[in-house]
Structures are given as structure tokens and as C-alpha cells.
Symmetry: C2
Subunit: 675 residues, 2 copies
Amino acid sequence: MTETGDALVLFMPSGRRGRFEIGTPLLDAARSLGVYVESVCGGRGLCGRCQITPTPGQFAKHKITARPENLSPPNEVEARYSGRRALPADRRLSCQAKILGDMVVDVPTDSAVNKQVVRKRAENRSIDRDTATRLMYVEVTEPDMANPSGDLDRLSEALEREWMVKGARLDPPLFAKLQKTLRKGEWKVTAAVHDDGDGPLITALWPGLQQRAFGLAVDIGSTTIAAHLVDMMSGRTVASAGTANPQVRFGEDLMSRVSYVLMNPDGLPALTEAVRGAVNGLAEKVARDAGATRDLIVEATFVGNPVMHHIFLGIDPTELGGAPFALAVSGPLALAARDIGVEIMDGGRAYVLPCIAGHVGADAAAATLAEAPHKTDRITLMVDVGTNAEIVLGSRDRLLAASSPTGPAFEGAEISCGQRAAPGAIERVRIDPETLQAKVKVIGCDRWSDEPEFAEEAPAVGVTGICGSGIVETIAEMFLAGIISEDGVVNGALAESSDRVVANGRTFTYVLWRGATMDITVTQNDVRAIQLAKAALYAGVRLLMDKLGVDHVERIRLAGAFGSYIDPKYAMVLGLIPDCELDQVAAVGNAAGTGARMALLNRGHRREVEELVREVEKIETALEPRFQEHFVNAMALPNKTEPFPHLSEAVALPARQQPAGDTGAPRRRGGRQRR
Amino acid sequence: MTETGDALVLFMPSGRRGRFEIGTPLLDAARSLGVYVESVCGGRGLCGRCQITPTPGQFAKHKITARPENLSPPNEVEARYSGRRALPADRRLSCQAKILGDMVVDVPTDSAVNKQVVRKRAENRSIDRDTATRLMYVEVTEPDMANPSGDLDRLSEALEREWMVKGARLDPPLFAKLQKTLRKGEWKVTAAVHDDGDGPLITALWPGLQQRAFGLAVDIGSTTIAAHLVDMMSGRTVASAGTANPQVRFGEDLMSRVSYVLMNPDGLPALTEAVRGAVNGLAEKVARDAGATRDLIVEATFVGNPVMHHIFLGIDPTELGGAPFALAVSGPLALAARDIGVEIMDGGRAYVLPCIAGHVGADAAAATLAEAPHKTDRITLMVDVGTNAEIVLGSRDRLLAASSPTGPAFEGAEISCGQRAAPGAIERVRIDPETLQAKVKVIGCDRWSDEPEFAEEAPAVGVTGICGSGIVETIAEMFLAGIISEDGVVNGALAESSDRVVANGRTFTYVLWRGATMDITVTQNDVRAIQLAKAALYAGVRLLMDKLGVDHVERIRLAGAFGSYIDPKYAMVLGLIPDCELDQVAAVGNAAGTGARMALLNRGHRREVEELVREVEKIETALEPRFQEHFVNAMALPNKTEPFPHLSEAVALPARQQPAGDTGAPRRRGGRQRR
């Protein structure tokens, strides 16, 4: 190797490899291959961020013999660093370790410096980092009368000399701080440099070596706004918080907020201010929870459905309330956080993920980014249920997106005993097919209602209603217990044998829960509302399956709060989603939030979601004649469009009934033609 | 020509030429050659901005025979335009006139549309236009459910389709307006698109065809802030206004304002606010004067000396008050006007010209841009006198810049009867060498004081003092009349023969004006103060001449208010400037303002001034040992360093006196060596 003056270096786990001149620091080698190794101090051995683990040995597969002596021995700089902070025995500072021969190097997935930070949530998955904002420590030339350049020029020169950052501009809010920071740091400063393809911009400046920087990922939901504080140096989420969207005082659901603006054209600023205020409050809270401050938050990313997206940006959402449902701004936005009233550090940047279409927002785009159907060969269905269900279907080859007008039934609205997910709301239901008695679980208590501890441990408010996920389970259990037919009709004949089924005018009502002061019941109208909602969702899914030319899906991902709480089995019994292997159906929680964190931590993910949104085929259900047909067919339970082999295997479905009235078996496939 | 399917077109006065396919519209041909022809409507024949004059004939020199029939005859679109607005007989719309054969075309230097606008000032010179912000009329595709893109996407598509503007972003303040503007204009809108090398940004949007856009060029002086409103479509200055810099309440001269901030570190925001407030007031005023509004001002450019530059940007100027006189920000700044508190249109942009060095500001850079010594072979001296004199010397080959600490004497401070230039201040002086009686002119009256109308027409305040330019003339006239010697000593012997020379302790005072209540006098100290100031200026000039290796200059340009009012002859008599042919000495008025207008109207001029500032050699007088030597030598009148052949020819100088004390002829060249 030394004859040719260069050596082969393999970086794991990325597998990137290259030949480098003898004497090249490993950090430089990694960078030239695009292997992301953090470094704040610019190779001075101060920050300790650039740790790697050399792995000498025989790597027959890679044809590399990496001898321990092929790396320069630890030098004084590393010894000094070890003296200040613990450097694990197997670690080296890649800025100091020089290539002397062939070598294999393991790059830890996160920096070892912040190991004490606890992983807070299971969904806190590891995201490769390539942040748009990076901290760069530089030593700036002092001013000299003989060479009268400006402080900024000399800072810029230092960034070029030490970090190969050319022509960095200074964000105007930093004008006033530049001089004092340089002098306070005695011409040694750390700059936050943002570059998202639009040229380097110095967005913050600290005296001396600054090693803390945070990012904020925000998911603006209609009901809840959630924010995650991410340590930009390690990629870890260090604090999360949520708050009710304060816009609810302008309207519980999306369309009522759109109506509010329509009726009060001057009311938009108040809505915008409300949501921005909530975001700023969350930024403050998560920063405090993490022992940080808002002025350490260098960037923020935002996702939300189209209406929230628009209101957050100060854009009138009323166009989204009617055809042609035209978005004003749909593409990705990269801007100064201050320009949209977001109070992070003065020079902080904001990135708003792109929307897919008028009803398929940046939240769906982010969820798609996170669940990556575009990276798998398996046909994947992603559903995020709200007032509109956002649906993405496809695989690596082709991706389709649409939204279905499910209405607010799944959110507990339009249901006689429906309520928001809150303590006291029924969320789990089991109905005994023999007695038709139900046991329930309510939010705020881990016990079933037939356990003795329930009375004691139930929330003080008692059992107050049924939340969205509870409704799905109740209707599904009613169907499995034979209380309602395939067609959704409450079987009045049962009223004779059970006190749980009671007449209610010309229809019948099921009594789910008998309370001290009030009963929780499911009326025929409630069943119909859920049937309509689930038929709309299913029809949308089915339409996309038609467009994609598939008759089954291989993976289902249920995103969002509703998706997190419903049991996939009941969703399938109800016919909310098509038949699928049950273990291939998973709730993925706040996938939109995950997508927001991905865009925060990696510029590549921004390009990926932008490409994704450009490429995905947008289907407008309202324009599709077959949507109506699918909708009618999907009213039945589980639904009459498809066979459901996987569901039948997993659940004992009631024996098929003969058709009553105009619904039933004969219409199972292509019903309309035969009618 | 037609055999090959193309034709030769020559554009005048630029002389650019090229071959184009038959049928190419002249506008497209002009653009492909980089010939600037305005057009707002994008070739639809609506705006009439793209007028050119075809000039058929034989052009032997250019080997072109341009037959009238080599241009397509006027078409319907032009007929329609002519119907709405007058199209001069010799004019064609270049978007409609198609090339049918060889042609010579004259591009009018300004658009014919706004001919009614009156030229207001002589200095309103024509500036080639290539504005960073341009108006672009587009027809945007309407939203379509089947193709659910955002309004911005479709606007951006239209800009690309019709204007070849790729990937335009929308400035955040426009988010809220986008939808309504598109719909109000029925999908026909005019966008202001800014691109200064940093990518296209939509900064404003109007429904329909918008043909008015203005720019603001601002010169922030220590004493006065001047603003010019420029019609971006014609390049003409349509309104100008000035206001006293409100910072004077924090200190009359620059250094006292620096001291104010030094003593009151929290006082900076008040100074910044004061200057920004004044700028915004001027923007309002010039817009109103021109029958426009601030929200039609698309861009603003700013120049100022380093202290004003820093305070305007919110940067502490105290570093500029002491060695090493380090600027915080010296480079050019391109930013959102709102980020520096400038209230023009919401998305308006600001461009701040670069400073040259800690004492040589953006005003000097702009003046250099305007006077263009870097474009001539003749050695040019540019001087802008203030508390510091900013000096630029050189030619195409090499350019040097320095500042000299003249102190405030030239501004009327430190002079016993000195005052600011205001009505009542003496600005012109003639002294009769026989009688030693003086006649004067005062600001606010066109008469000499010996004219009978003077008493009647003089300002009500009477004769109140001597302004800066008046002082120069007074001292020079005193020298020419023999009242003071070459060494600046008031000749006490004259007191015997004239009541105009009176004893004042051990020195003598000259009585310039006998007033009813007070006399205006020039004391020996006054003479000394001016000698010190002029010696400092001259020493700086001489130092640069040394550095450049020249012993005379070929052109002198006196910039700034002071430069505008002094008579070049007296400046030379006083030895303020080196000897030069008198007709090569010119006051160029507000050259800094002209430079600001150039940067406003042409992106090329921005690159030019940026290059200029990088290339100019900065000389720090305080570091130069010869500066002190030159300074001492320059105390005499006219000065003793140089012969003055041109001045001697133009003015009858007093006979040379023998040296008294340590100044005089023997030291004229290289005095120090011989001392």
C-alpha cells in the first residue's frame, strides 16, 4: 500500500470505501466519501464529536486486511481530550487518527458525547443525520489596520479556510451581535451555518466552542399540536409535548374553522396567531423540559393538514372548503422562522413540508416519508383518519394519494354518545354474544369494567361517552355478536330476549353501558354514521387499488392518533380497511411527526419528500365515477366488495345472512350491474 | 439571407449583433444578445414597454443593408396598442415586429411611455438598466381538481413558461395575498420578481397588468439623509427629498455619536430607530411627491459612511472610534427591507453597498462607482470631505483609497464664526486687495452684498456666520489679498492701514463682515484650524500619490455637499487639493447618491462596486510614516510640497515670501532630509 502512497478505507455501516493518501485524517476521508461524521471544532480535537471505532482484522469479503498499526497511534490532542472527558477505549477522534494503511472503521450511529440522554419514546427511531444547520467552530483572524477587512469578512474567510464553506452571508438579526461575540470569544467562535441548497447563511454565533443545538419538529393537528425537541448533535428526541389546538374555540373540526374564516374574513389573523402562539408555547416548554432555551433551537420543521398548514402560514383556508379545493402554497417552504412568527433563536430557520393536494396535506407527506412505501416492493396502504381520511397506496414503482370525506364520525362527532378522547371515554369494548352484555375500558383506567378494581380506579368523571376508536370497536363487536346485520341493521328481534336492545321509534338501540345517571347507547343512526364514514374511507382505498391495478394490499399502516388507538382487527371487521394479513397491519403512531423529525435531521429527507410529493399521483375522489359505486358497496360489514380470507381466518365472523332489502350477497361483486 | 433561413440584426447604441431565424420577434433577439429591452406583459403587446425604432438603410461600416421590408409590417396587436396609447410613428413594439431579413434597430435609452415625467435635476444622468427586480405579467393556469397543484406552483409554472424564470419562491409576506390577487386578476397577474444572483423571489403581486414600480436610493449622511425615488421602468428619478439626520440630537458630528453609544451602550437602538424613521419618512414623502405609494417601492439601496452604515444596520459603531477601526460588516448586503426596518412594500428588498474600510464607507464606494476612476486611463483624484476626508486615487490600472482626519473645521465647527450651511451663512467672499474690504454672498440670497438689492433680498436672519465652503473661500481670498502669508499668519502690519485687520491679544483678526449687532470675523486660530484640516486632507492625497508613484493628477472630482459648494479654484489656492488643470476639477454633487441609484437600476453596477471595493488598495494613513511629513509640509498656502503650474496660470498668486521660521521654499521637496 505504502508503495503507491495510498490506502483503502472502508466505513461501516454505510459500506462506503475509497483510497486515500497516507496521512489523511479519517475525518477528512469520511467527508470526502459523504459519510456523515459530526464535528463542531473543525478537527481541533476539542469537541469530541467525531469519534469512530477502528475495527482492525481480516475482512475477506471486502478484501481488506486492516492491521492495528494502519492507524496512527493516539496523539497528544486525543490524550488531552481523554483527560477532559471520557473517550471510550475503543474510540478514536477521527480528526486526529491518520490513515497509515488499509483500515475498516465503524461510525457510531450517534455521537457518544450525550449518552446520558434517555430515549423517551419507542417511536424515537434513529435517523441518519445530515442537518441543514451545522455548528462550526472557527478561529477568526483579528482585525488589523494594515488589512482593514470587516469582522464578517474575516469570519467568512475562517469558515472557508476551516470548513470549506464559501461566501457565507450573515442573517440580519445577527448584525448587532457579531462584534461583541467575536470579541467575547477572543476571536474563537462557533457559528451555526445553515445551508439547504440555497447557500450558506450564518444564523447564530456563540463565543468559544458551542456544542449544543436543538431542532423542533412540529405536527399541527386540527385537535392537537405536538412538538418534539431534537438534539441536533445526536439526533435524539430529548423532549416532547402536546397541546390542544387553541383554534378549537373557533370551531371543533376543520370545516367549522374554514366556515369561521368564511363568515369572518377578518378573523384569519386571530386563528393564525392562536396556532403560532401554541407552537411558541410548546417550543418554550420542550426547551425548558430539556434544560435548554429557545435560543438554542436552530431550526424547526412543520407538518399539518392543508387547512392547518394554510392557517399557520397566514393563508385564508376558505379555498380548501370547496371545489376545486385549490391550495395556495403547496410546495416546500424554507424560510426564516421569524417570517412566520415562530420564536426560536433569532436567526432560526423554518422548513414547512410540502402538501400533496388540497385534502392531502404535509402531514400525509411526512407520514409517507416516515413509512416509506416508495422504498418497498410490497404494496403498502397508509391511512390517516381525520375529518378527511388521507390515503396513500403503492410501492416503489408507483404511489397514489387521495382523500376521502369520512366526516367527523370517527372523531366521535355525529355519534349520539360520541366524545373526544378524554378520561371517561369508552375506548375498548367486548360484547358477550350470548348475553349481549358488554364490558368496556375507559380512558384513564387500565381495568375492564368487569374487574372488581374498576369501580375504584375509574376516572372520577365516570363513564362519559364513546371516543372515536371506541366507536369502531363497539360497532364491530355488535356485528360479531350478531346485534347488527351485515347491512348494519340493529336486530330488533333481540329486544325480546335482551334488555340491551331497546326500541327507539321504528329502529332499535343497543345499550352499551348502564350508568348511574345516564346510559351510553348506540342508536341505529350511530351505526349508519359509522357505516357512511367507513364506506367513504374504504371507497377511497378501493379506488386507489383500482387505479393501481391491485386487488389486495400487502401492508397497512394506520397513522395518526385515531390509527394509534383502533385495534387493526376491528378496523378490518368493520371494513374500514381492506383484507390483509393481520400481522401486516400496524398502527404507526405519529408518523407525520416522525417525518417532521426526519426533515429536521437530514436535508436528504427534505429532497426525498419533495420528490415524493411531485411524483405521487393525486386522485380526486370527487371526480371519479367509481367512487360512488365503491361507496355504496362498502356500506355493508365487513364490506361486500371483496372476499376477506385473512380476516375470516383471524376472526369468527357471523354466518352470512341472506340479503334483506336491497343489500346483500348478490351484490357482493359488481352489485350495481346486477341490480 | 433567406436561403440560410436567418438574418443579421444589429442593435444600437450597444452595437450588439447576432444572426436570428427568420420570424424571430425582435424582443427575443434583443434578449438573447443581452440587450436590455423592458417588457412587463411578456410579449403580449399590452404594456408597450418594448418599443424600438427600426432604422432601415445602408450600413456600410457594419456591412448591413436593412430594407424596410426586412421587418414584419405592424400587426393587429400593435394597431390595438396604438389605439389605446400613442405609439410614435417611428416606433414598433419589439415583441410583435418579427425579423424577416437583415435589420438595424435602435433601442431608446428610456421607454417612451413615461415621457411626461420631467427631469428634475441635472445630475439625473441616464443609467443603463438591468434591475434586480422586474415586473412580469403572466397568465396563470386556473386550479383544476384533476390536477391539484397549488396556486404558487401554477404561478411559478407561468413565470417559467412565459419568462424563463425557474423555481421562483414566494416571499413570506405574500402568503396571505396570493390567492386573492390571483382571483381578483382572474388569473392574470403581474409579479415583481427579484433576482440578484440568489435565485428568483416573488416579492410582490398585483392583479392584472401592473406597470408602475419604483426604487429608492438613499444616502445616509451624518448631517443629511437624502432619498431619491426612481421609476424602475424608465430609470428616471421622479422625486428627491432630504432631511436632517435626526441623530444630531445625539451628537452633531460622527465622533460625538460614537461617543454617545460608548457612554450609553443601551442607546444604540434609539440611534438606529432615529435614522430608520427618517428613511421611512423620506420614502413616504418622495412616494407622495411622485403620486405613488410606499407599497410600489420594490427595492431600496443604501450608502453611508461607516458610522452611519453601522448605526443604520443596528451595529455598534464604537469599534470605528479607535484603532484598528474594524468594521463589523463591510461587504455588500442583499436582504429583505423589513429585516432592517425599512418600510417599503412588504416584500421589498434592500441592497446596502459595501464599505471600503473603517473610515472609507459605502458612500465613497458609491461615489467611486459613479465617477468611475477605475474605467479611465487618466489619474483621477476623488475627494469627499466630511469629518474625515475620504480619498480615492487612481485609474483603470490601480486604485487606492484612504481617509484623512480633517476634523470638523470644513463643516464650520471649530471656527469662531463658523456655522452649518443654512440661510444667513456666508458662502462666497471677494476681498479687494487694495481696500481689504470684502463683499459676500449668503445662503438664501443671490445678490452680492454690495448690490443695492442685497439689503432687501437677504434672509431675514441677516448674516449669521460662515459655512464650510465660505471658510475655504475666505481664507483663500485673505491669502490672495495678502492678509495672510504663505504660512497663514495674519499680517498685523495691515492694522495700521485698514480697519479690517484688528489686534486680538498677540495675534490679529480679520473683520469679514460688519453687522448691525455682530461682526463676522476670522481669527488667527480660525486660519490655523483650516490650515490643519487642509493639511490633513492634502497629506492624505499626497500619500496616495506617493503610493501610486505619480507627482500630479489629471482629474479631480469633489464629491459631497461640501465639494459641491466650494469653488475648485479656491480649493486649489488653499492647497486643499493638488495642482491640476482647473477645467479638470469638478464638483460632482451627490456622487454617492448617484452610485446608489446606479446600484438600484443595474445589477451589473452592484457587481462592479463589489469588485471595486475588493480590488481597491486600502491605505491606513495612521500607519504611514510619511503622512506626518506630508502633513507638516502642507500647512503652508497653497502648500509647499509641490509646484503649482496650473494654479499659477489661473490665479494671480501673491509674490512668494521668504520663509519665516521653519516653513518655506527650501523644504518644498523632501524637506525632512534637508532639515
